[in-house]
Symmetry: D2
């Protein structure tokens, strides 16, 4: 099997999904089912996974027995906040160590604050967390996060909730080529082809939320995304044809390009 | 079922494939099987479908009982040549009327000659052929071909055998919006995401050959293309999220863009 | 001097401009002055150059003694209309033979009708006109128009009045490489960088109207366009540096690309 | 005059140039003359501006009486190295306080190390330097550098020496919109249109070296760049026409796009 291995565990699906912005837990559940995702991320500050025993609990819809729950720090703007949030998550999830760290720099753009992200990553790794880390597409920062011990690097394709797709495939390529841990595109995917492009670049996986939850038909889009991630992965493994300006062109001027042969 | 109907017949698959450039008929067969295609196009001038009874016959590998065989005029540079070739195909295929017309303008670029294409289409439609027509992405020519009575319009995404993907999505959009017959992208797809983009634009299908046959692993790429076409179609039907520069942006500046919400 | 020669006459400026959509003739005059253009195109069906002796005459603001007036057939949808319009222009302009032919296919998109364009070009060339011809970016049609005897090929960059820039540089490149007469981008330029890109591709000139007339400050934009066309031309002649993914990259993967080294 | 003001001094030219990679000081001088640049940056570690009294001194070709010399830290990979280098430059240049800080993260890609850059900026600002700072296109880092007191933010368009142009105009736009000090694109410009695009985005200036020095004809390219920067600036000030898919399109779907109306 062409498995994605994160923190020592193998997954058949390379599509990771969020749980926010759905109409209700039923829709969340149906969309996640259709996506085929095995790892489901949850914003600890926004979603009830037991903090409030009197409210519906997401984990009843998305049971940890079936899914790997990935607590995340959406809404945190400092290392301290993020660390505190993930310690709480660990308690709520019985010592679960796999987490997604994100520290944002600006409530408007939701661009990551890479300095605070690095600080938080250092603390969390020391405390034994398996840290999947959301970051910019800066390859030097990505390297530093890997050296700190993060178990997956998750650069943005474009801003959270923007649906703008992959704005700078070149930086992603630099990150993919240098990384020894899995690289997953996180944030910015807007439609199926965006996910396919990410996988064709050589990403190990894609994480998304809004692209599914805010489609007119989330369940159908979840199915589209499942197929797109598989298609992109298979195309990457299959090795695409060379690009040429025209078929009889003796040179192959486009080799080296994105999605290159 | 979300079927593609061409000349009165419904197809579950929206991926049409060619038969050229494979190592041998076994590879052709395995790749077409993996692609899920139901319509398979054959270059009458290049492939033996019975013209030479002493050579292996493609139809033994790709039987017409299972596939809709779509004879095409690859290698024809005039209306006369194309018409003659398709009359021959009709004989070889027992009166079969569905054909793919292409008249090229230049052996180097393989760009279509739209004037000769129009002439040939007029003759073929009068003779009772169901003409799927390869053309440029010129929306006025596309309209004229539809008015002549072609049963499907097949604009290029980029040059035959180039793998350059969709160079001008805007023209494709104009063609899709105006057409009452199916529009299929023909030529130029290089990898899975290209096929997904074509479908997200609203194309009814995609035809390809080199992208599969010249991948390092044609069978795996055929599977990727099958999933990519389905993913793109589902994403189109699901209705993608709006594009925004950033999530909190009050305007939605990117509506109207390709793959628009 | 690096002159642009059209129909035997040399011009220092490679920027050609239109006269439509301005507030009044004063603004037209000031913008054209700032653009440095020597060839000024006039829509015979829309602008008074003497058809109506009781109305202000554009030629008082843009005198033929100073500018080469290029009558055009904007608003014509058939070869007959276009030919008739240019015969009238020749009378009004005392036997002047240099004209710009455009035959449109659709009042909505203003996309050219290449079939009618070819018909009109054949007639006009026979009647002794020097025909600069507006067309799509189809290289086969461009070749046919050159063979008919047109003295300049003027492919669109994108639709008239769209300001969308150069949608398909690859087709332009094919046209530029094959043509022995000047190739000028006509239609679609929206801002200064679009004009520079056209020139860097190797175009011999650029014709525009809306990009100047509908800028907030037309006179300043005219100056910008003058500089952009010169900058693009000089960059083309200077020979750009090679593109590389990064400086130390041993291969130069981007050669052959648009604006290539 | 539409002046660029940096650290309290007004400049007519918005094009800043480097001095590396030329054949000899004569070519350097001729190209800089043709570029119209008033600020000229010098890599203190590579170019002799008096460190070695026995070698030719760049300042004889590019005299500080005529040009603002901008010492830079090319080749520095740590805050300490960069600070030390700029202290030396201040001595060599008689107390001159305007400097360009760059701290690189990797000798291969030359991508900036933003953590070390921030450290160095803090020290240099405290020591009274006027710091123009090279950085990634991360808007949060750009904001932090501005808050530290840098007098100009200089994000990359693409990697140093790559000539890849502006890979992510969206991030540049976020930086431009938030910044109260001048924003200059530094690194990545490959040809004239790239410089025009940067200015149309609203950048206050552009700094380049390789695009001029490694053109086949550096002096002609320098002239092209001068015009391109002026063209882009004027187009920005003139306010471009709106983008539309086609002229008669009732909506203006492309507003908000790069180079937007």
């Amino acid at each position: 099997m062409d498995a994605l291995t994160i923190a020592g565990k193998a997954y058949a699906s390379r599509l990771l999904v969020g749980t926010g912005k759905y109409k209700d837990f039923d829709e969340t559940q149906a969309a996640i089912e259709a996506s085929g995702a095995e790892i489901v991320t949850v914003a600890i500050r926004r979603v009830n996974i037991g903090q409030d025993p009197n409210q519906p609990n997401l984990l009843d819809a998305i049971p940890p027995s079936r899914y790997t729950i990935l607590p995340n720090t959406a809404g945190c703007y400092s290392a301290d906040d993020a660390v505190r949030t993930l310690r709480l998550a660990r308690e709520l999830l019985d010592g679960h160590s796999l987490v997604k760290l994100e520290v944002l720099g600006d409530p408007n753009t939701l661009f990551p604050n890479v300095l605070e992200t690095i600080k938080a990553a250092e603390t969390l790794v020391k405390e034994g967390f398996d840290v999947m880390v959301y970051t910019s597409d800066d390859p030097i920062i990505a390297k530093q996060l890997e050296e700190i011990g993060c178990c997956a690097i998750m650069p943005l394709a474009s801003l959270i909730g923007s649906g703008m797709g992959i704005l700078n495939p070149w930086n992603l390529r630099l990150i993919i080529e240098q990384s020894k841990v899995p690289v997953l595109v996180d944030a910015g995917v807007g439609t199926a082809s965006d996910a396919a492009v990410a996988m064709e670049l050589g990403c190990d996986g894609v994480l998304m939320n809004t692209a599914i939850a805010h489609a007119k038909s989330p369940v159908l889009m979840a199915s589209a995304m499942r197929k797109a991630v598989e298609a992109g992965r298979e195309a990457y493994l299959a090795g695409r044809m060379p690009r040429k300006l025209y078929s009889a062109d003796p040179s192959s001027p486009m080799s080296g390009l994105i999605g290159r042969s």
